[in-house]
């Protein structure tokens, strides 16, 4: 973990296993509470980061527990930026389904739709594996926050 110049940054490197998603969830809970996000936004951030992490684990590295993926949290004054990065080969999102929900009875294909529905910005970079960038802005009612605390 490191901090400086007004923004606080947290870096995590995790094995590609689903059973550690609970650890990610707890870290998000701590960050979003500290930044004074409202409950609905806290849930939205947690759901979205878990979706991006699930993609990294399942599609990026086929649940290979010896591989690692990374999550970076940047606590800026008015927003939280999250980067989820895997260096695998497998994640090719279906962009056609990113703005509309899939068939109700489909058992797959909701991850990107969920992220786009819940975050203010969602973007992808496939230059070196998959990098997902998620942004949640703080509304005025969400107070001064603790980005520099």
């Amino acid at each position: 973990m490191a901090s400086g110049n007004g923004n606080r940054r947290i870096h995590m490197s995790l094995p590609c296993t689903l059973d550690l998603l609970g650890v990610v969830d707890k870290v998000i809970e701590g960050i979003t509470e500290r930044m004074e996000f409202e409950d609905t936004d806290r849930d939205a951030i947690a759901i979205s980061v878990i979706e991006a992490s699930t993609n990294a684990i399942q599609h990026g590295h086929a649940e290979d527990g010896t591989a690692q993926y990374q999550i970076d949290f940047e606590m800026a004054e008015n927003k939280l930026i999250i980067l989820v990065h895997d260096r695998g080969t497998g994640f090719e999102p279906d962009m056609s389904s990113d703005l509309t929900p899939p068939d109700l009875l489909s058992t797959r294909g909701r991850g990107i739709f969920i992220m786009r529905s819940m975050m203010d910005e969602v973007s992808f970079d496939f230059t070196n594996g998959t990098l997902v960038r998620l942004v949640k802005n703080r509304s005025e009612s969400e107070g001064g926050g603790e980005a520099d605390a």
């Binding site: 689903l18 998603l21 609970g22 409950d39 947690a46 399942q58 929900p101 109700l104 009875l105 909701r110």
Partner: protein, 111 residues
């Protein structure tokens, strides 16, 4: 995810606990649904009161169970849905295929 089966006359309540997120959860849940269908039990309540969260893979597991049950003339209803799970159900519109009830008694009475 842990699953505990509780038969109440014609209705079976499956008490789920933990997180529904894929991996071994899918096989465990499908095995339980298959066992219910083999036993001729087609009225099922999923008690999610001790489930903290569900990811999109977990949603797929629940949908798969719903489809298996529906194809055999049965149905799955929900109770104990927390705010976070409710939020993901609303966004994905899955609240339109899963009837959800505040209490177990209400869910039992709905069959």
């Amino acid at each position: 995810m842990k699953i505990k089966r509780d038969d109440r006359e014609s209705v079976t309540i499956l008490h789920l606990e933990g997180k529904i997120m894929g991996g071994p959860d899918a096989e465990a849940f499908q095995k339980e649904i298959k066992a219910l269908l083999d036993d001729g039990r087609q009225k099922v309540i999923l008690d999610l009161g001790k489930v903290s969260w569900v990811n999109s893979t977990g949603l797929g597991i629940l949908i798969s169970g719903h489809s298996s049950m529906k194809n055999r003339g049965g149905s799955i209803k929900l109770t104990g849905v927390n705010k976070r799970i409710d939020q993901i159900f609303m966004v994905t519109k899955l609240h339109t295929i899963f009837d959800s009830f505040e209490t177990e008694d209400e869910a039992l009475a709905s069959f």
